[in-house]
């Protein structure tokens, strides 16, 4: 009964979403203030209904109600309750419900935190979001209903895929989806601004914090996915250039470009058409990702069970949403003004270069991901594009990005002088050179790639420290925006150092070990001490105990316990690797198969992975930076005429405030 109520709530939600999509917009066209004002309450109502449906499905999971088909396919009565809850997004139908739920969260947030935005703009933005919600709700109700019944009810569920029974699953999809879905806000703002013919600094100012928060979630979600794959899959990989991973990387790259481009539009009124295009692209790539994962056009380990009928629906939806946005763009973009002038050497050009490079990188990833499909569609054969391609094409594009991050942050708006930037480049340049040489010497070997990777990471990191220190010394205020930028850039630098380190210096050994045997990697000795059987809530496992000592010392510094688990509901044994994370490296052991022989032996895979913790630390730093930047004071203060005082990007106290900006603010606020 409750289940049917949940289903009904979704239907109602669709109706409300359709109203939300149409009524406020009609109100704008008719100058009907009442209709326009319906946007906020409709958005909130729509979300409440979806939230109810979501709650109903969660209750069904927690109660192990196997009369609900979706629950019976993805859960089991022995499943620990956190996984029962997370199982809701373990399959196609439920994950779509999560998508729509989070879309409602973002819409409601926009409804609640836009009090100082002109009403007609609010109406347009929420209308667009309502239309998107309608599309997804329609998709769920017609092709992917999570409330379908299974009668007679199953006595026991099929269990959640053991690979997904992990804390990583509980948090990775919600975080990732918050990012994907969050891009719809910047998208809605862009469409609203195009519709209104008002692409100005106010629009950019509004879009930026929302884009920053979405970017932060997306960064966190991607990082979590990498980390989860690393410890869960048992062979120490953390990025495979799998199509679904690429589907999350592409919006991230474009969102990064968007954040930086919005800066220019906000401060200088420039690049409006390009920024709008980026905003459309970011969300389009989110939708494209949804299509790729659920339609079956690409082989991927992440892909949900595919169904061409679903694929057609999503493709049509994608075509409509993106097609109409790009048509609107083609129609309205030519009329936007150019904005304030800029010299060839200026902050603007650095940020523009950033945009170009990141967009090219996105194109490269998109090309590599879709090339097999294109060639197959043209009947010209079947080929594969894998990590060798992406590594060759992607990395070189990132080199200039990393290099330019430092002078870019230092350059002034409108016109930068080389004489002003140069003094701040000397320290990072030499410090990075010393660091890079020193670290590679210490690690054992060097080549161009290693030296360059370490150098670029150190270059950005030292520059960040230097710029913060300089600012502190000057006694200048460091707002969220400035600190956020420096910390996020530092985070990226740390990731680059981590990638360079682990790719070039990791050691892997596949050995056969009996009790008492040991293997040595770097200066670490791994000794197999014991193998025994243990029991879990819904599995049996073979657990090995490996003691780790370092160098000459006899003291056991770590106890690793890799397991091979046999879940009662599955025929597949699961490898649970055991990892010890230090500051500079991970020690990683994976238990393999039993080997036949006179004495019992097991195949063990042992890894020494230096710098891996830096990958995760870097991601966390980027997340922290994003949060700091999102909640900068000036975004929380109401947007009043002449209030645009934030110039906290460069180590320079004075900046001429352009009258044109306050002119913009005054005009739009009065609309």
């Amino acid at each position: 009964m409750l289940v049917e109520l949940g289903h009904f709530a979704l239907i109602l939600s669709l109706l409300v979403a359709l109203t939300q999509g149409v009524l406020p917009l009609a109100g704008v066209l008719n100058s009907n203030a009442l209709w326009q004002s319906s946007a906020r309450p409709l958005a909130l109502l729509q979300w409440s209904l979806v939230a109810f449906a979501f709650a109903v499905l969660e209750v069904a999971f927690l109660q192990s109600d196997f009369s609900v088909l979706y629950v019976s396919e993805h859960s089991n009565s022995l499943l620990p309750w956190p996984y029962k809850m997370a199982a809701l997004w373990g399959g196609h139908e439920g994950s779509l419900l999560l998508w729509v739920f989070l879309l409602g969260v973002w819409s409601s947030a926009v409804a609640l935190f836009s009090k100082t935005l002109a009403q007609d703009m609010v109406a347009r933005v929420l209308s667009v979001m309502g239309m998107i919600s309608s599309g997804f709700l329609l998709f769920i109700l017609t092709t992917s209903n999570p409330f379908a019944r299974l009668l007679p009810a199953a006595s026991e569920g099929q269990d959640l895929n053991p690979l997904l029974q992990d804390p990583g699953l509980v948090i990775h999809p919600p975080m990732l989806y918050m990012g994907y879905v969050g891009m719809s806000v910047a998208f809605a703002f862009a469409i609203a601004a195009l519709m209104a013919g008002r692409l100005d600094t106010v629009w950019a100012r509004w879009s930026r914090p929302w884009t920053l928060v979405a970017w932060t979630f997306l960064t966190f979600g991607i990082g979590l996915g990498s980390w989860w794959a690393y410890y869960e899959l048992g062979w120490g990989g953390w990025w495979f250039w799998d199509p679904v991973e690429n589907a999350s990387l592409m919006p991230w790259l474009v969102a990064t470009a968007l954040i930086h481009s919005l800066m220019v539009t906000e401060k200088r009124g420039s690049f409006k058409a390009w920024t709008v295009l980026l905003a459309i692209a970011a969300f389009s790539l989110s939708l494209l990702g949804t299509f790729l994962v659920r339609s079956g056009v690409l082989t991927s380990v992440h892909a949900f069970a595919s169904d061409p009928a679903r694929g057609i629906f999503i493709l049509v939806f994608l075509a409509l949403v993106v097609g109409s946005s790009l048509t609107l763009f083609a129609w309205r973009a030519p009329t936007v003004s150019l904005g304030s002038p800029m010299a060839l050497l200026s902050k603007e050009t650095f940020l523009l270069a950033n945009s170009v490079l990141l967009s090219t990188a996105t194109l490269a990833v998109l090309l590599g991901t879709l090339y097999p499909l294109i060639i197959d569609a043209l009947n010209m054969g079947k080929l594969s594009v894998g990590p060798p391609y992406f590594n060759v094409v992607f990395a070189p594009l990132m080199v200039p990005v990393l290099f330019m991050m430092v002078p870019g942050a230092l350059a002034r708006w409108r016109e930068a002088k080389w004489s002003q930037i140069k003094p701040f480049l000397i320290l990072p340049f030499f410090a990075a050179t010393i660091f890079s040489l020193g670290l590679s010497l210490w690690m054992g070997h060097q080549d161009a790639g290693i030296l360059l990777g370490f150098w670029l990471g150190a270059w950005v990191a030292f520059a960040s420290f230097q710029q913060v220190a300089w600012r502190a010394k000057q006694g200048l205020r460091m707002g969220g925006s400035f600190l956020g930028m420096q910390i996020a850039h530092l985070g990226l630098a740390v990731v680059v150092l981590g990638v360079t380190g682990v790719k070039n210096f990791e050691i892997e050994r596949d050995v056969r070990m009996g009790v008492g045997d040991q293997v040595t990697l770097a200066q670490y000795h791994f000794k197999l001490v014991d193998v025994k059987e243990v029991r879990g809530p819904n599995y049996k496992a073979l657990r090995a105990q490996v003691n780790v000592t370092k160098g000459e010392s006899e003291t056991v510094i770590k106890n690793l316990t890799p397991e091979k688990r046999f879940y009662l509901s599955s025929t597949m044994p699961m490898t649970e690797a055991s990892i010890d994370s230090g500051f500079m490296q991970d020690l990683y052991v994976s238990l393999g198969d039993v080997l036949s022989g006179p004495t019992p032996q097991w195949s063990m895979r042992v890894y020494y992975k230096p710098f891996v913790p830096w990958l995760w630390a870097g991601v966390l730093l980027m997340v922290l930076g994003g949060l700091l930047a999102s909640f900068d004071k000036r975004y929380r203060a109401p947007v009043l005429a002449g209030d645009d005082q934030a110039h906290d990007q460069e180590p320079e106290v004075h900046e001429t405030h352009h009258a044109s900006q306050s002119h913009d603010l005054a005009s739009t606020h009065n609309a």
Partner: protein, 175 residues
């Protein structure tokens, strides 16, 4: 597709053993464990592979090859039966002194270009390999010209006084 079902059951991100074998191994291990004394002095574990040099080369080559059964994994990491068989073939080809190219040709002639993770550079893949670079160059050229054109318009308006320039900007903005 039913063909896929058999292979898919082995391909949940890990291609593993079947239960019967695993449980048998489990009981065997437990039984024998009682008999093995502890405290034997540490012996350096032997590598799993018979010939680590050949194995290292195998891993290098196999990492850039795609498993045909578990198509999301490389030939190096896949645990599918066919992957085992193909690794065995590559090993014997290495021991027979074949070059990396010859080994790749061996597999491509049987399974097609699909098996290569690094697409061959041929007219069919020119777009793939050179596309991004070309786009970058074109974008930079376009950008440079756009910025110069902008600077030129600014030059043309330098005949105006600062107030007149402001007025012009305001007028342009309202369009």
């Amino acid at each position: 597709m039913t063909l896929a079902i058999l292979s898919e059951s082995k391909c949940w991100g890990l291609c593993g053993l079947n239960v019967a074998r695993a449980f048998l191994a489990l009981t065997l291990a437990c039984v024998l464990m009682q008999a093995t004394p502890f405290g034997v002095h540490a012996e350096e574990a032997k590598p799993l592979a018979e010939d680590p040099v050949v194995e290292a080369r195998l891993v290098d080559i196999a990492q850039e090859l795609r498993c045909l059964v578990c198509q999301n994994e490389s030939l190096a990491s896949s645990r599918a039966d066919l992957a085992d068989d193909l690794r065995r073939e590559v090993r014997s080809l290495i021991k027979a002194g074949k070059s990396d190219d010859e080994i790749r040709t061996f597999l491509v002639s049987r399974y097609g270009d699909f098996v290569l993770y690094r697409p061959k550079i041929k007219p069919l893949t020119y777009g793939l390999w050179f596309g991004p670079f070309l786009v970058l160059v074109l974008a930079l050229v376009f950008l440079y010209q756009h910025l110069k054109a902008r600077a030129a318009t600014e030059q043309n308006t330098s005949a105006l006084t600062p107030e007149e320039r402001e007025r012009l900007r305001a007028i342009l903005k309202e369009q």
